[in-house]
Every structure is written in structure tokens, then in C-alpha cells.
């Protein structure tokens, strides 16, 4: 979907957010949300949650970065072959 004329003013929650160039960064709030809820379920007391959620948030990002690097390597290797 693209805005087609000046009359098509951006309406939040109706039009998609105009962030086509920044979509990879959208992984950050999603991982943060998953980390907080997951650790809220897992931890015995809520005092542990901030630290535990931060740790798993970082691990998720490291995992995604490794997976992205590995897939990029595979794609490049296949293309170069």
C-alpha cells in the first residue's frame, strides 16, 4: 500500500507505518515483549524479571544475528557457486 495523493494523509492504526527502510529494527520491540512476558511467566518472583528478561533479550538478538549471518553466508555461497 502506498499513499497515492496528498489527500491520503497518514492515519495512525489505519495506514501502515511509513517505515519501509527501517523494518529490521522492528525485531527489537518484539523480542523485548517476548522476553518480558516469558520471564514474567518463568520467574518465581517479579524482582528477577528485569535482569532475566534483559539477558534473554540479548541472547535472542545474538541468536538472530548468528542465524542471519549463517543464512547470508549460505545464500552468498549458493549464488557464487
Amino acid at each position: 500500500m502506498l499513499l497515492q495523493s496528498p489527500a491520503d494523509a497518514y492515519v495512525p492504526f489505519v495506514y501502515p507505518l511509513p517505515i519501509w527502510d527501517y523494518w529490521p529494527w522492528l525485531i527489537l520491540p518484539l523480542c523485548a515483549g517476548v522476553a518480558i512476558v516469558y520471564k514474567s511467566v518463568k520467574c518465581g518472583t517479579m524482582k528477577e524479571v528485569p535482569r532475566e528478561a534483559l539477558v534473554i533479550f540479548v541472547w535472542m538478538l545474538v541468536g538472530f544475528a548468528c542465524a542471519a549471518g549463517a543464512l547470508a553466508g549460505v545464500v552468498r555461497w549458493v549464488v557464487e557457486k
Binding site: 489505519v14 501502515p16 507505518l17 517505515i19 519501509w20 523494518w23 522492528l26 512476558v37 516469558y38 518472583t45
Partner: protein
């Protein structure tokens, strides 16, 4: 607010129902207020942010009046299963989305490609996280005296 004590006097099905009606409400009625507020704010934030990213048309209920069996029709929009786990918020979003689909002004406004996928992912993951909290709160109501 304290989450040290769990109230075991509430039937687990009621806890689960409360958790579906409002994310985190299951924890609230068993006395785990901090946990309730944390998961409620987080799950609703993820759901609302998904709609903000892609627009509300990302929540689309399956057309149950179409051809084929009901499971087939539901599986045409499988992400709605995740989105409906957000409770009435998901239903309300689907209703508004349906209204916009019939609006002459907004019927063609729909996210495509990556933004649609990302918004769908956000809204469905919010619902699946809510399912996790529903199961956990009902389990705590069943088994745990102290947390």
C-alpha cells in the same frame, strides 16, 4: 502491589477466562498484581504496536460464510487463531478491520509484503504470549500456594 501470595480460592477455569478477557487478569484475581500489570501492559503493547505497524486491516477474521468446511475457512486465515487469543481486544480489532474493509475510503488501505508480515507476527505473537499467561495463571491457581 504484591505477587508473593497466590490466592487458591479462585477456580482455574475462571482464572483462564479472566486471562483471556483481559491479558494478565488471571494473575490479578489470584493476587499476583505486579505480574498481572507487567504482562497486561506488555501483551497489549505488542498487539497495539503490531496494528500501528501494519494498520488495523492486519487483523482479519475468516469468512465463515464462504465455501468449504469451517476448519478450511478458518485455516485460510490461520494467524487469526493467534490474534483471537488476545481476547475481546482481538475481536474488536477484527470488527473494526471488517468495517474498514467495507468503507469506500479505506477499503484499499492494506499493508503488503514485509510490513503486513511483521504486523501479523506482532499481533499473533501477542495472542500466543497471552495463551502462555492464561495457562500459567490457571496452573498457579491450581497448584501453587506460594510463588
Amino acid at each position: 502491589m504484591s505477587d508473593a501470595q497466590t490466592n487458591n480460592n479462585v477456580p482455574p477455569p475462571l482464572v483462564a477466562l479472566a486471562g483471556w478477557l483481559l491479558p494478565g487478569a488471571g494473575y490479578w484475581i489470584i493476587g499476583q498484581r505486579v505480574r498481572a500489570v507487567t504482562v497486561c501492559v506488555t501483551i497489549l503493547a505488542v498487539f497495539v504496536f503490531g496494528i500501528l505497524i501494519s494498520g488495523i486491516r492486519v487483523v482479519q477474521a475468516p469468512d465463515l460464510s464462504g465455501p468449504g468446511s469451517i476448519p478450511q475457512r478458518i485455516l485460510q486465515r490461520p494467524w487469526f487463531i493467534g490474534q483471537i487469543l488476545n481476547g475481546p481486544v482481538g475481536l474488536a480489532a477484527a470488527y473494526v478491520s471488517d468495517q474498514l474493509a467495507e468503507s469506500p475510503t479505506y477499503r484499499n488501505i492494506e499493508a503488503k509484503a514485509r510490513l503486513a508480515e511483521i504486523g501479523t507476527l506482532y499481533t499473533a505473537i501477542a495472542g500466543m504470549l497471552n495463551l502462555l499467561t492464561i495457562i500459567d495463571s490457571a496452573n498457579r491457581a491450581t497448584h501453587w500456594g506460594h510463588v
